[in-house]
Amino acid sequence: MDNSTPVIRMEHIHKSFGGVHALNDVQISVYAGEVHALLGENGAGKSTLIKTMTGVYQPDSGEIYLYGEPVRFSGPREAQQQGIGAIYQEPSLFPDLDIAENIVAGRQPTRAGRVDWRAMYREAEELLGQLGVDLNPHTKARNLSVAQQQTVEIARALSLNAKLLIMDEPTSSLTLTEVEELFRIIRQLRASGTAIIFISHRLEELFQVADRVTILRDGQYVGTREMSGVKTEELIEMMVGRQVNELFPKEVAPRGELRLQVQNLSAPGKFEDVSFELRAGEILGLAGLIGAGRTDVARALFGILPVKSGSIFVDGRPVTIGSPQQAMDLGMGFVPEDRQHHGLVLPMSIATNITLPILPHFVKFGWLQDRQAKQAAAAAARRLEVKCSSIDQKAKELSGGNQQKVVLAKWLETNPRILILDEPTRGIDVGTKAAVHQLMSDLANEGVAILMISSELPEILGMSDRILVMREGRITGEFLRGEATQEKIMAAAVAAKRTPAPIGAGNES
């Protein structure tokens, strides 16, 4: 930050879409060697601002300066050539091409008009070496993890000599170790003078990696702060424009009768010997690293993944659950992690999505009573405050947070007595998150038994009455609300015998 001219400076940026002000007088300055966080709820204008930086959108008015020189990008290509690289939430690689070609796609090195594969692999190896990652440039992108794909995208941006690297929620689907690895790369890039814009909904990550933060709300600039001198509460207040006193409002509900009992459940290769109980009015948090087998347990309980041995009791009666239909008949609901793939039919309307599992309720003489179904859907959407133009709007047009509300509405319509939530608030903004948490608390109060899988420790600690920790397919810890700490949970999640690595040290074995 010794450099007095910002790499990029944007002033008075305005951008509207059909009368809606997506950006209204927004400003931001990012310096070389700075990690600058961009914070705001979904719909606050972060993505639009980024797209005006990368040339995807052209601002209606306002100025963009690169190293003090006014610029205007006609398209993504031009922004790239000027040294602006972007890594989006969904990695945008070519799954059928290998790493080397992904890095140089569209501008492969040529010699005498021929694509020079050897030079390509050499360049890829150099770039990956610079980043300190051990990846074979011949590997097809299809076979990479999300974290590895992001690394390839960073290598691509570097090969374009990016002076400014924009990362849009790069950590949302990474494991803790992978996040640490990403932060290592980010710090290395910062040290070499790259300006970085970093977007994340996880505030604790911003405190780890960012130098400054700019906050947007409803398309307007709220302010810029030094990360070292700001508190979480202040950031949240700036984002939502109101004070959010209690982020995780789980109230103590009376523990009711036993709803779900799992004994020695095993699915070879996925999880082994899993036992636990779940009572009415209880929220049972299931913590652990990604890949620990938590989602597989949920899928097994819901009849998606076949189990080899063990028993399940619902309301004290032994049951076998061979299909989601059977699980639903037993009063279970499952909100999956990947809402785009498993939770929603994106091209269909909100109303259709909500009524999908309960469609038989609206059938008379073999005909669907469309109006009744829509009324029920509208009521459910209102209850969860889904922000939409109408319930006929397509699910794919909604923001991530609102999509999650629709998935929740869909399962609540089935009146579940046991609700399994897999990462219920991943990638959704603070306001919606609070609403989802409030809803979970209300449901527990009404006597629903909730099993919540979450990779966010504050959420696990704040919402759960009891916490189970899984590691490599086994339950390695159980804590009551009062006794659980981040350190205890991480110790159980990372390694049982070795001394627990402090969070943030990474686990690179």
Binding site: Q80, S92, F94, G106, R107, V115, K140, R142, E508
Partner: protein, 338 residues
């Protein structure tokens, strides 16, 4: 990181072995078929018969390679058969009317006409934003209709054609019949184009992830337009060879041929959802189809059953292929994301 890296390279080498196996699986299927048929009909395993198969699939290979490039970009070109029919008719009329038109000129004319027809497809698809399957379904009928309009319902017979034109496909001044050499040349050029030029690599990129291709500054629309022009151009070349080989140009020339080109691609491992496909795969796919057809005749399976048997063998090949692919994705641990 080390653990993931070594696991990574392990699954990579396994992956590569299986990828080779993927093309190998077609080859094995062909060999099994050859052995089985050779036992029943010894005439099958002769150099003459092998040559007949190669002659039969040469035109298919040429058109299927164009089809492959279209499919890699997530498209499909159903109009290839009508382009072959129309160009065959137009070029044949031209050489009959002007016998001075030399065979090389006829070839160039055919490729030119084919490229024009292909560019219509390209315009409809890129500028008109019509899905490829619908656009080319339309031109499939339109171009076939133009065959009738152009010829007025008549056809060109063998005796009307100049000798040089008839000899074009069959003559073998370089040792092998020209038609086979054409197919080999086209295969070689397509291979070089797809692997060693930027526009060729762009075809894979566009099919693999169109949005990412756009962000990477690859001219997506131009690439898509280009593959339809190439498909037309190769169909035009095939048309001239077709007319020469069968010594006629009829209103129903190449009717239904589009499905064979798609079959050759699919059997040859070209991903129907775009992004991948190889020249070698398509050649093997075409060879398998040609072998099946030839074998069914030689073992005297009733013509009534031939089409059904052909279809059955294609399905078996594709099912085996997709089973291998699924297994492979499981092994490389990307089954869910792929």
């Amino acid at each position: 990181m080390n653990a993931t890296a070594s696991g990574e390279s392990e699954s990579r080498s396994l992956f590569l072995t299986l990828v080779r196996f993927r093309e190998l699986s077609i080859l094995i299927f062909i060999l099994l078929l050859i052995v089985a048929v050779a036992i029943k009909a010894p005439a099958f395993l002769t150099a003459e018969n092998f040559l007949i198969i190669l002659l039969n699939i040469s035109i298919l290979v040429i058109v299927a390679l164009g089809q492959m490039m279209v499919i890699i970009t997530r498209g499909i070109d159903l109009s290839v058969s009508s382009m072959v029919g129309l160009v065959a008719m137009m070029v044949s009329f031209t050489v009959v009317a002007f016998p001075a038109v030399s065979p090389p000129l006829a070839i160039l004319l055919g490729m030119f006409l084919g490229a024009i027809l292909g560019s219509f497809n390209g315009v409809i698809i890129t500028a008109g934003k019509v899905p490829p399957i619908i656009a080319t379904l339309g031109t499939l009928s339109i171009y076939r209709g133009m065959v009738f309009l152009y010829s007025g319902g008549t056809w060109i017979n063998s005796f009307e054609m100049p000798d040089s034109y008839r000899a074009l496909a069959k003559a073998a001044p370089l040792g092998a019949p020209n038609i086979i050499l054409f197919a080999v040349t086209v295969a070689l050029l397509v291979f070089l184009f797809l692997n060693y030029t930027r526009p060729g690599r762009d075809i894979y990129a566009v099919g693999s992830n169109p949005e990412a291709a756009n962000v990477a500054g690859i001219p997506v629309q131009r690439t898509i337009f280009m593959v339809y022009v190439i498909s037309g151009l190769l169909s035009g070349l095939a048309a001239v060879l077709w007319a020469s080989r069968f010594e006629s140009a009829q209103t129903n020339t190449a009717l239904g041929f589009e499905l064979q080109t798609v079959a050759a691609c699919v059997v040859g491992g070209v991903n129907i959802f775009g992004g991948s496909g190889t020249v070698m795969g398509v050649i093997l796919g075409a060879f398998l189809l040609g072998t099946i057809e030839n074998a069914l005749i030689l073992v005297r399976i009733s013509p009534f059953w031939q089409l059904a048997a052909q279809g059955l063998l294609i399905l078996i090949a594709v099912i085996v292929d997709s089973a291998i692919r699924r297994r492979l994705e499981q092994l490389s641990g990307t089954g869910e994301t792929a």
